[in-house]
Amino acid sequence: MIDTVSIATRPVRPAIAGALRRLPEYLMIWVPLLLSALHLVSFSLWTIWISFTPSTLVPVSGWVGLRNYTAVAASRNWQIAFDNLLLFGSAFVLLSVVTGLVLAILLDQRIRGENLLRSIFLYPLAVSFVVTGTVWSWLLSPGIGIQKLVHDLGWTSFKFDWLIDRDMAIWTIVIAAIWQSSGFAMALFLAGLRSVDADIIKAAQIDGAGPIRIYRRVILPTLWPITITVIVVQLQFAISAFDLVRALTNGGPGIATQLPALVVYDLMFQRSLLGRGAAAAVLMLLILLAVLLPYAAWRYVQRRRAIHA
């Protein structure tokens, strides 16, 4: 995601006739982009506004100050959700990057049936979150899933009951999410591996470097920008994994696997507390900004460097 420097010249201030001639292109560029930006900005502002109102079933005007925020922050649901987001977010992003990278490196070893294998790792992306959540809940429920299967096969002391274990249940979401999304990470990494200059590798081989050393010293460093992309995409996935969590654990056992997106939806629509739900949504956006701002800063630095290079 490094910006290349645009050397296209900015159009000189156009004459009116020129502007008219250019109208279609301006429309085509600006209308969709503006609509998209406008909906994001206005929806966010609207949500911020609602978070300060006493809205319950439907949006109403009014002012309750920070009461919605204090109520959300004080609720056990939100506290658990916040902790879970830190754990789930970091574990999922890290593990899916690792899984994707490992899969990509394995597929890059000139193995037979690469097309088929790639399809196998990619197909979960085609499946909806609800289906993923449901199917994994079948597999991971100890009473009906993998544990029962193994017991029935004779190994009765086998235990795989994370789904009903309050401390481990969040990891079942990590498993399902990795299954579904690391194919995308793999595709990105594979693309990166394929675009590494073959000459550099040849040169390293001539220098007598072994395969592991080549990966560590020559290839992996070039994947850094891709890794950032993967992290961003996976982060987006982590946030939108709402349906998956709802179908897999629905926040349980108890309320052990609550996540902010779940709390937002639950407050807004299930508990009919729009104001509080909006406050939770704003808090969630703030968390996101806390993650994204460093990334934006990093890009800014990169761009400056590129310009001055």
Binding site: R10, A37, I111, D152, V196, M268
Partner: protein
């Protein structure tokens, strides 16, 4: 990398890859097997099992038999609804995203960085948060309970992704190419049409795959902004999952899941190769 082999560890590499692939296939295998077991058989045994009697009728029921309230037409009409939403929304969001990405990367204009930044941030704005604002917008423009409304939502929301990926892809196009064309007097659209679009197949395939699967699998907006006969396929799938007061229809549900996933699975199977190629060609920058 293709020109190197790791001689000693080939077998272990195959072993690991096959093992992971087996793990990745497990959920699919379980669903396929369940799609061939009767509801009763699953209810009385467990979720993982070999079919006792091959219940092929599950597929017939799923396709055109089961009832969603009064409508006993299976999943078929809902598949069609989903297609009516997904196909236009995918085309519009991809085309507009391609033009926007082209404009932002090669045709820099005042304020482009800002607007591009905001549009990209849209990737991270949770869907649930946008539900009510969309309700208000659709009400005000009179598109509630129309498929057009859903196409509009998915087009505008999809722009975040398509613009991001197209912009990154086009950033790798040599600017000299554009400059030369402009000196020759070619305008914005002419350059896009003649130079950019022919180069775009890989990235367009990526965005089409991405948009198609996301819109096809969407549920929340699909049930809120449609009514009765217009609902998308995900609504019909949910209708099959356990109601509190009913026996879960796991057999038919599994068959319906497979049928409903066929379009997206096919797109991945056919497009998977281009997916990686499209990403290789520049989208990952």
């Amino acid at each position: 990398m293709r020109d190197r082999t790791f001689a000693p560890s080939r077998i272990s590499i195959y072993l690991i890859v096959l093992l992971i692939a087996a793990a990745w296939l497990t959920p699919l295998v379980v669903v396929v097997l369940n799609s061939l077991r009767t509801n009763e058989e699953i209810a009385q045994a467990s979720m993982i099992g070999w079919p006792k009697h091959w219940a092929w009728s599950n597929y017939a029921t799923a396709w055109s038999g089961f009832c969603v309230a009064e409508t006993c037409a299976g999943i078929r009409p809902y598949m069609l609804n989903s297609a009516f939403i997904t196909i236009p929304a995918t085309i519009f969001s991809t085309m507009l995203g391609a033009i926007a990405g082209y404009a932002v990367s090669l045709w820099r204009f005042r304020g482009d960085t800002w607007i591009y930044g905001i549009v990209t941030l849209g990737l991270f704005l949770p869907q649930q948060m946008r539900l009510l604002p969309w309700t208000i917008v659709l009400r005000d423009i009179g598109l509630i309970n129309t498929l057009t409304g859903l196409v509009l939502i998915h087009t505008i929301q999809g722009l975040s992704f398509t613009t991001l990926f197209c912009r990154n892809y086009y950033a790798a196009v040599p600017h000299e190419l554009i400059r030369a064309a402009r000196i020759d007097g070619a305008g914005f659209f002419r350059i896009f049409w003649r130079i950019i679009l022919p180069l775009s197949a890989p990235i367009l395939i990526v965005t089409v795959i991405w948009q198609f699967t996301h819109i096809w699998n969407e549920f929340l907006y699909g049930v809120t902004f449609t009514s009765g006969q217009q609902q998308p396929v995900t609504a019909a799938l949910i209708a099959l999952s356990a109601a509190v007061a009913d026996i879960p229809q796991h057999g038919v549900q599994s068959a319906a899941v497979i049928i409903a996933a066929l379009p997206t699975l096919l797109i991945y199977l056919l497009g998977g190769r281009y997916f990686v190629r499209g990403l290789t060609a520049g989208a990952v920058k």
